[in-house]
């Protein structure tokens, strides 16, 4: 019983972090119809930057969030302006292939700078735990999950309250109508992409403490966050949160009760099952598509 609760709690804590990591991917897809395959590589990039800061200056990796988030925002803006902008409106596969190329470039750059060896930011508290009864909660996981939830709340409020948020939702619902009422889709797309990439900053900093990583780890991350948004419904932020919690629990359960080797299979299995049985995911809306023709 204790083991079950332990596994569940661990799954939920991880799920909270996964939710933040997946939020950018789903936001970008919802507004721009682009699957940013490089999102995984960007997470690892943020993790490396966090690690380097911690290693050089001793800055707590979780405080690294405040550095990596604005930094990754700029990286996102740069990527949008130089590449994504020019393929908007092309068939969906185009953006997948393009961002795959970007992921390879980022992987190569990280390999050159930091070499292809395992890294992990290990501040003092990374091996410490809180104990509640028989349940152990790793401090790093608790802090990480708390920060992730904080960033997610900020993101959610921003989307609900600000003009930019409304504009983003308007473009996401109907690009041409948004244009008619004076929303410039290019600006909105650029900011959305940048915000979506900025979430990898916070998420990557947290991930740097939770898991060891190397440049090639981005495949594991993209499979995870892709599985989450497919499960939750592509383009839906609440869906990403629910999907992340479910996937976090599914992964830890598989690792504990079946075998850690099969845990890597979970996201891919989820992707296959959901896309085949319920393509709109849990929270995605099925809208009629014929009217636009």
């Amino acid at each position: 019983m204790t083991q079950l609760i332990q596994t569940l709690v661990l799954g939920l804590l991880l799920g909270g972090v996964y939710a933040l990591l997946a939020s950018g991917l789903t936001l970008i897809f919802g507004v721009m119809d682009v699957i940013n395959v490089a999102q995984g590589a960007l997470i690892i990039l943020a993790a490396f930057i966090t690690w380097a800061l911690w290693n050089e200056t001793g800055l707590d990796p979780l405080f690294g969030v405040f550095v990596t988030t604005p930094l990754m925002f700029l990286v996102g803006l740069l990527i949008y302006m130089t590449t994504i902008r020019w393929i908007q409106g092309k068939p969906p596969s185009t953006s997948v292939i393009l961002t795959f190329g970007l992921a390879l470039v980022i992987e190569g750059v990280m390999g050159m700078v930091w070499t292809a060896t395992l890294h992990r930011a290990t501040p003092d508290y990374f091996n410490q735990s809180f104990t509640i009864g028989d349940i152990y909660l790793r401090k790093s996981q608790v802090y990480g999950c708390a920060i992730a939830i904080g960033v997610l709340v900020i993101l959610y409020v921003m989307l609900k309250v600000t003009w930019l948020g409304r504009a983003i939702r308007a473009v996401s619902a109907n690009m041409s109508s948004a244009k008619l009422v004076g929303v410039d889709p290019t600006t909105v797309a650029a900011l959305t992409f940048a915000i979506g990439v900025a979430t990898t900053g916070a998420g990557g900093s947290i991930a740097a403490v939770l898991y060891p990583f190397l440049p090639g780890s981005h495949y594991a991350w993209i499979s995870r966050i892709l599985g989450i948004i497919v499960l939750g419904g592509m383009g839906s932020l609440p869906g990403a949160v629910i999907g992340a919690l479910l996937l976090g629990v599914a992964e830890t359960m598989t690792a504990t009760y079946i075998s850690p080797q099969w845990a890597t299979m979970v996201p891919w299995a989820v992707i296959m099952l959901v896309l085949l049985l319920r393509p709109q995911g849990l929270m995605g809306q099925k809208l009629r598509e014929d009217v636009a023709l």
Binding site: I97, F100, L102, G108, G111, M234, Q261, W262, I271, R288
Partner: protein
């Protein structure tokens, strides 16, 4: 001299390909440089991969990022068969001849495609791309974890082949060459058959393809199998060539992307583009890997630089050369040719009479009693909106029935339900005494339902003639291999184009037509189905008055020849003059059906659609 240059220019592609093939064929004879031999062997492998990928992704437009899965399946099939079934001992020191297993590898890869294809090809766009990646990773993980069979991470070692040592890798070289030729020959054959044309139609507009009778599920799965078999065969050879395989190199996502890059570079959807792309890319890969160190010092070109280089190259190709080398070069020549044809674009319409085609099978069968098309209580909801809310409607044989009503009353949705583009939530649809609401769209087209779209949908990359030949009024396996544009059908297509007045445009690209011209071609296109019922969605919408008159004339003529019409139209003079009965739809329901006179006088119709002053306007027009 100029003539020779012109010839060389026009046939540059063919000459390059012939030169390339000849070089590959004789290279081992004139040189025993093992290094270049290796480069050619790996280029051949990449070309086989690219050529296979091109069928599913270039022709049919279903982009796969997991095509190496079939290389892995082929390699593991051969390796496991050779080691597990026959056992390493049995072959002893002589080793095994790899070529026994090639056909098995090809068949197993094909079977995998046949099993997985029908499932994953129900999705499109993003979902399909993601599923192909998922399939690759799932297979990799299965092979990795099924250690009893595959030894997982430790991989499998294969015995050395049993041919004389001095042959070296030459048998691999020529067998890869042979597989590539077979693969390209198959692509070439597919491209010129009805099967290939169906795939292009699916790429251009899948729903439209289904509505003109293309059996899209079978076409897609066949394309997926075709794209897998030669890769599977190559996988078997590759396993022996490497003599050691493991899950990570065999089910490698990066190699999948490399294949995509090769095809995009050479030209997607062309026959030789993938081969040319592969023979540019793989030598580049090998030379940068092996020679840069020698030229510029150790460690310049490591795995990281390689990732950056090819990642960036992929992005460059997508951004700056999206159509690839071959199509871009062809475009230059096409533009020159088309400037000569431009004179005809402004030509006047000239309609020609149409000969009546005997509807052999249909005529022979006694027409069932009752209306041709009967809709009983059909409903369709989109979320909370009831777009069609219990429509009951009958279209009598030989009639020209109009369907009118305000915007959003459910007219086009009803069309979509009748032709199967959408499935209804409730109710029944009967056609020719057969219930059709559960049938696939292409089946309904085969039964004799043809429909045009409000905004014309043509296969834009095809010529006008190809567009008209593309519809299929039945499905048969033999048909798949028939010539895409063949004698009697091409004749009929020309005749139909003559009938609608578009015969001078037969060789123009459909994407270059004006809106009105598109409507005419679409009409000719569905006439190719020999439909008993033609559904026209706003035939007079957005075209000029002369063309409207033409359209009316053609509808009357086809109707005289026995075709029944169901027409959605907002042009009231046309509807009231041409159609009887008229059926009025409002808020998803039929509110009135009757003769034009009766409908015009019905207060409910005036209230919902025509407006109180409709009659006054009509009178005013008459008096002025």
């Amino acid at each position: 001299m100029t003539a020779a240059l012109g010839f060389a220019g026009r046939n540059a592609g063919r000459l390059a390909v012939a030169g390339l093939l000849l070089t590959i064929l004789v290279f081992p004879v004139i040189s025993d440089n093992r290094y270049y031999q290796t480069i050619i062997i790996l280029s051949l492998l990449l070309a086989i991969m690219a050529s296979g990928w091109n069928i599913i992704s270039g022709f049919a437009g279903y982009v796969s990022l997991g095509q190496t899965v079939f290389l892995g399946i082929g390699a593991y099939t051969t390796a496991i068969l050779s080691l597990r079934v026959f056992g390493p001992d049995e072959f002893g020191q002589g080793g095994a001849n790899p070529f026994y297993f090639i056909p098995v590898s090809a068949i197993v890869a094909g079977l995998f495609a046949a099993a997985v294809g029908p499932i994953i090809m129900r999705t499109r766009g993003h979902s399909f791309v993601i599923l192909t990646i998922a399939f690759l990773f799932v297979m990799q993980l299965i092979v990795l974890n099924w250690t009893d069979l595959t030894y997982g991470n430790r991989g499998l070692s294969l015995p050395l082949p049993d041919w004389p040592r001095e042959w070296g890798n030459l048998p691999f070289y020529y067998i890869f060459f042979g597989i590539l030729l077979l693969s390209v020959a198959m692509s070439w054959w597919i491209r010129r058959t009805k099967f290939g044309m169906g795939l292009i139609a699916i790429r251009e507009d899948e729903d439209k393809a289904a509505s003109v009778g293309v059996n899209t599920p079978i076409y897609k799965v066949l394309a997926y199998i075709a794209s897998a078999v030669w890769i599977g065969a190559a996988g078997g050879v590759y396993a022996y060539y490497l003599s050691f395989i493991d899950p990570r190199t065999m089910f490698d996502i990066v190699y999948s992307v490399f294949v995509v890059l090769a095809v995009l570079l050479g030209g997607r959807g062309t026959i030789w583009g993938p081969v040319i792309g592969a023979f540019i890319l793989e030598p580049l890969n090998q030379v940068t890997n092996n020679d840069f160190d020698r030229w510029f010092g150790e460690g310049i070109w490591d795995a990281n630089v390689r990732l950056i280089f090819f990642g960036a190259l992929l992005m460059m190709v997508i951004l700056f050369l999206p159509r690839g080398i071959i199509p871009s070069v062809q475009d230059i020549f096409r533009k020159r040719r088309e400037s000569k044809m431009a004179a005809e674009v402004g030509a006047r319409f000239e309609r020609k009479p149409l000969t009546v085609v005997e509807r052999g099978a249909l005529e022979a069968r006694e027409a069932p009693a009752g209306p041709l098309l009967e809709i009983r209580g059909v409903e369709k909801r989109f979320g909370g909106v009831r777009a069609v809310d219990g429509v009951t409607l009958a279209v009598e044989r030989g009639s020209i029935t109009a369907l009118i009503g305000p915007n959003g009353s459910g007219k086009t949705t009803l069309f979509n339900l009748i032709d199967g583009t959408m499935s209804s939530d409730k109710g029944e649809i009967w056609f020719e005494g057969e219930r059709v609401d559960g049938l696939a769209p292409y089946r309904r087209a085969h039964l004799g339902i043809g429909r045009t779209f409000q905004i014309t949908r043509l296969f834009r990359q095809m010529t006008v003639l190809e567009n008209v030949v593309a519809p299929l009024s039945s499905f048969s396996w033999r048909h798949l291999g028939a010539d895409a544009v063949s004698g009697p059908e091409a004749e009929r297509a020309h005749e139909l184009l003559g009938f609608v007045g578009m015969h001078k445009f037969a060789s123009h690209r459909a994407g270059a037509l004006s809106f009105g011209q598109g409507k005419l071609v679409e009409l000719a296109q569905i006439l190719m189905l020999d439909p008993t019922l033609i559904m026209l969605d706003e035939p007079a919408g957005g075209i000029n008055p002369t063309l409207i008159a033409h359209m009316e004339e053609m509808i009357r003529e086809l109707n005289r020849q026995g075709t029944t019409f169901l027409i959605v139209e907002h042009n009231m003079p046309l509807v009231l003059g041409l159609c009887d009965p008229v059926c009025v739809l409002a808020r998803g329901q039929t509110i009135c059906t009757g003769t034009p006179d009766r409908v015009q006088a019905d207060p409910a119709v005036l209230d919902a659609y025509l407006g109180e002053d409709f009659v006054l306007e009509q009178k005013a027009e008459v008096s002025s």
